[in-house]
């Protein structure tokens, strides 16, 4: 009997993605947190704030990624006070990388750092499991990302505008959700640019339908009659 899920660690099966465009960065994620087969949270927020201008997409162990992001937020805050100006995305990513690498035996978390700073504009850094750091124009992570490699190689273009970038992110996450059992729920996006940060939310009914997915249907009861009669005793 598979009751192991009760004590299984919370893992975010996840699809996370970060994309740069000509004015900043767009980060996107699904919202499913699972403990084994059970969905512990179907509306989780996997995009966490590190500073006003730098955000982090978390995947892998929920606990590990939360602890790492808490430490880095703390260090970054002190760094900003010392420096007297906003942190750069590169510094945030390097702090994440240090923790990931030095504790690689104990941690199991893949992270994508994205944000905007005045020197580099929008930038994305991928920090996968072992603690490598890689700067990229776009990055994908989590179990759902396996289904996106080919798609995003073809779909990402240099010099997209904000709307195109966000549409690409939503399309990617929804494609991954369609195929990956460990990803699901809603699509959350965060857009970061010189003007600030915008959070968006795309519920299931707003996402495009893919091959063999069924359209949303109201209950048969509502379909059968235009006016529903309440049940009488």
């Amino acid at each position: 009997m598979d009751i192991d899920w009760i004590n299984a660690p919370h893992s975010m099966g996840t699809t996370i993605i970060g994309v740069t465009y000509n004015g900043g960065t767009v980060l996107g994620a699904d919202s499913r947190t699972s403990t084994g087969m059970y969905v512990a949270n179907r509306a989780s927020d996997k995009i966490t704030q590190l500073t006003d201008n730098v955000y982090l997409c978390r995947s892998g162990s929920a606990a590990d990624s939360q602890v790492v992001s808490d430490y880095v937020r703390y260090f970054l805050h002190q760094h900003i006070i010392q420096l007297g100006q906003p942190a750069t995305v590169k510094v945030a990513a390097n702090l994440i990388r240090q923790l990931s690498y030095n504790n690689k035996n104990m941690l199991q978390t893949g992270l994508i750092v994205g944000g905007w700073d005045k020197y580099e504009g929008g930038s994305i850094y991928s920090v996968p499991l072992g603690g490598t750091i890689l700067q990229l124009p776009f990055a994908i992570g989590g179990s759902g990302s396996s289904y996106l490699y080919g798609f995003i190689d073809q779909a990402w273009k240099e010099g997209m505008n904000k709307e195109e970038a966000e549409a690409l992110v939503v399309k990617c996450v929804s494609l991954a959700i369609a195929r990956d059992g460990a990803s699901g729920g809603v699509v959350r996006t965060v857009v970061i640019n010189s003007e600030g940060v915008t959070r968006n939310f795309y519920s299931g009914d707003k996402l495009p339908l893919w091959h063999e997915e069924l359209p949303l249907r109201n209950s048969l009861l509502e379909e059968a009659s235009s006016e529903v009669e309440p049940m009488r005793a």
Binding site: H79, Q82, L83, G84, T88, K90, V91, N94, L95, Q98
Partner: protein, 192 residues
């Protein structure tokens, strides 16, 4: 008995920053060592070259530390730190008290009063780095008192777009040009 290059006053503390020392040589050496260490440790932690302002603050706080405890004596030397980071070229001076300011022109050492006066006559915002090298040489020669001071060697370094934003010794030909211009200016002054 002055061997050329035997008394280095200017040290590179990182690719993008250099430091000139005045005062007790051994104390200055210690400050430079600390500065180099701060610069490399910052880069190892944060993945980017240390902003010059941050480097200055770290060094100043270290120098200041030595004024806080009865069992430590203050550093017997001050330093001038010059560097080029993402916010452009910057110049800072750290005095033995631990006080540090950003400057556009400054001087330290025996002839500093006269040198500062000469610097104030310059129109810094309109000068290129090359021109600055010549002017600085003139000032150094200008404040050197032939009668009272010993023979000296001019040591110059720069950091600018022309040096690819890296701290390096002023190229030999430019240094010669600067020395010639300085000597000529001296003779003009003496001739009056």
């Amino acid at each position: 008995m002055l061997l050329e290059g035997s008394n280095r006053r200017i040290h590179a503390v990182h690719n993008h920053a250099g430091m000139a020392v005045a005062g007790l040589a051994a104390d200055g050496r210690q400050i430079v060592a600390r500065t180099k260490s701060e610069a490399t440790s910052y880069e190892n932690t944060y993945g980017e070259p240390i902003p010059i302002k941050e480097l200055c603050e770290r060094v100043a706080s270290y120098v200041h530390l030595c004024t806080l405890y009865w069992w430590l004596r203050p550093f017997g030397s001050g330093v001038i730190l010059g560097g080029y980071d993402r916010d452009g070229p910057q110049l800072y001076m750290i005095e033995p008290s631990g006080v540090a300011y950003r400057y556009f022109g400054t001087a330290i050492g025996k002839g500093r009063q006269a040198a500062k006066t000469e610097i104030e006559k310059l129109k810094l915002s309109e000068m290129t780095c090359r021109e600055g090298v010549i002017e600085v040489a003139k000032i150094i020669y200008g404040v050197h008192d032939e009668a009272k001071d010993k023979a000296f060697e001019l040591e110059m370094s720069w950091i600018c777009d022309e040096s690819k934003r890296r701290h390096q010794k002023v190229p030999a030909d430019l240094l010669e040009e600067a020395k010639e211009a300085a000597k000529a200016a001296q003779e003009d002054m003496d001739a009056d």
